[in-house]
Amino acid sequence: MSLSLEQVRRIAHLARIEISDAEAETTLGHLNGIFTLIEEMQAVDTRGVEPMAHAQDIAQRLREDKVTEENRREALQSVSPETEAGLYLVPKVIE
């Protein structure tokens, strides 16, 4: 399988990444290279092998349900471009 240029543009749009035509071409090449690798892997006979959701066959570690974090809003917002009344401000989004 290989991607079309249109699909690359669509993926970029979904991720809100602006790409030029030249970049789209380059990215298409990169992504298709990855698909070639995937195709090679898919040639391996995996009948009888249970699909894994993670490369390591171990279980998720859990934490106790305890509040361990304090209010660090000031520190976190010090690197934010714009804040007001404790809120992060972003370009207007309307539903």
Binding site: H54, R63, V67, N71
Partner: protein
């Protein structure tokens, strides 16, 4: 005109009652200052990693047990990718192919006029996920304000099969589910604060048609009334569209409570391209048999079982049993009152809880858990009615006194206020003699055949006794004296 059948499936987002978030140690308390509970993981600083909250998994297991679903021994977290500023990672951690709970069912009772029909709503699945933050579109100089306190709050999304056939059934399901998640202690059920939100998938098809019509999804309904109104409007709208020859387009719609109408959200062609994939930051969640067994041992008796036991053990009517099992708190209160009130007085006890207590709580806008009269106090009061120490009428006085804190127990109030019922027939006879002497006119009326006058004389006697005489004895003795 064709007849239409309505088909409804419901997805509910239940906010889990944990102290901390699903993947971070931030607090989930409601009402904090904006972003005061949004830390490095919640604002998605580069390099942070999620660590799953055991408490959230516990809630999911309890739910699975309560609905008779399968608890997946292995489930997987996936990334649901979409772009929105209140989702700073650019994806929501959810579960996709392997959810934590599969199947299960919820029994509902649909009231149509005088009849209540039992029905079962089957569940498809329930999965764990994180909530997003909040966008505030008010005036921030043409910008949007983002509060990430809610980002990362644990949710259990509960999905039904398309089993419901009317808005009434949908509401009955939502109510039953709401009662259940509160009962098993996994959600506070506060709909105003968004702890329990429903999305309804609605479609219509001609009666008899096998395949489903095209559905539209009504998002974020946070009251039972809105759920009903939104579905009713949507159904009428869809039928009118089809009858006018227009096809229904699959869409996500919002309900506007002010107009009572649903309207499609601006169509986003990419809206459903979520590109799910297993989250490499999280390993599979393994739930072993031991964990499930421990959770099962810690489960309260479920509403349906309790309802049946109230009927079998206490001989209550199905209606009373259903009313008393509306919440765990109410059922607990009733059972605690029975401890002192006596199981043989269960019917009286049920009446007191459902009538007197409920009315008094309602009047003061209180919840059963805030009742100034404890179940032990009420049980003690009922025991005194049962053994004839006081009449039901006097008991209301004692109840009011207990409510106002005028005594620690019913016995104390009865003693202090001298409310003990007069059962000594000599004393009652003396009272009656006085009444007869003072009401010669009434006596004459009675003798001339007016039965009403008898009741008036009973009233006078009870009044003279300040309500404390045993009414039956007064009746009998009065009858004897006049006869």
């Amino acid at each position: 005109m064709k007849h239409w059948e309505v088909v409804i499936g419901i997805e509910t987002h239940v906010q889990l009652s944990t102290q901390s978030k699903i993947f971070s140690g931030s607090s989930t308390a409601f009402g904090a200052d904006p972003n005061a509970q949004a830390n490095a993981v919640d604002v998605a600083l580069p390099g942070v990693l999620p660590v799953l909250n055991k408490g959230a998994v516990d809630c999911a297991i309890r739910f699975g047990l309560a609905v008779g679903g399968q608890i997946a021994p292995k489930s997987v977290f996936a990334r649901k990718n979409y772009f929105y500023p209140d989702l700073p990672k650019g994806y929501q951690i959810s579960q996709y192919e392997l959810p934590v709970v599969v199947g299960g069912e919820v029994a509902i009772q649909v009231v149509q006029g005088d009849e209540a029909e039992e029905k079962t709503v089957h569940l498809t699945r329930a999965h764990l996920e994180e909530d997003a933050g909040k966008s505030l579109h008010e005036d921030f100089h043409g910008k949007t304000g983002i509060d990430l306190n809610r980002a990362g709050t644990p949710l259990l999304e509960i999905v039904t099969e398309p089993d419901m056939r009317s808005s009434a059934e949908a509401v009955a399901y939502a109510r039953a589910l709401h009662a259940l998640v509160r009962w098993i202690g996994i959600c506070d059920g506060n709909m105003q604060e968004g702890s329990f939100r429903c999305d309804a998938n609605v479609s219509v098809r001609p009666v008899g048609q096998e395949e489903f019509g095209t559905r539209r999804e009504i998002k974020n309904l946070n009251s039972f009334r809105f759920l009903q109104q939104a579905i009713d409007y949507e159904v009428q709208w869809q039928i009118a569209e089809i009858e006018d020859g227009r096809a229904i387009q699959q869409a996500t719609v919002l309900f506007d409570p002010d107009t009572g109408e649903t309207r499609a959200m601006r169509s986003k062609e990419d809206a459903h391209d979520y590109r799910y994939f297993p989250d490499p930051d999280l390993l599979p969640l393994i739930i072993d048999r031991d964990w499930v067994d421990r959770a099962r041992a810690a489960m309260p008796e479920l509403p349906a079982a309790k309802r049946q036991r109230f009927v079998d053990e206490f001989k209550l009517s199905a209606y009373d049993a259903a009313t008393l099992t509306a919440s765990l708190e109410l059922a607990g209160y009733f059972e605690a009152a029975l401890e002192d009130g006596g199981k043989t007085n269960a019917k009286a006890c049920a009446n007191w809880v459902m009538v007197e207590l409920a009315a008094r709580l309602n009047k003061d806008g209180l919840d059963i858990s805030q009742s100034p009269v404890s179940p032990i106090q009420l049980g003690g009061l009922i025991a005194r009615i049962a053994d004839g120490t006081i009449s039901n009428n006097i008991a209301k006085k004692v109840f009011e006194a207990l409510w106002n804190g005028e005594g620690r127990t019913a016995d104390e109030v009865i003693e202090k206020q001298g409310l003990k019922q007069i059962t000594d027939s000599g004393a009652i006879e003396a009272l009656i003699d006085g009444v007869l002497a003072a009401n010669a006119a009434m006596v004459a009326e009675f003798r001339s055949g007016k039965e009403k006058a008898f009741n008036a004389l009973v009233g006078q006697a009870m009044k003279a006794a300040k309500g404390k005489a045993n009414p039956q004895q007064v009746n009998e003795l009065l009858r004897k004296k006049l006869g």
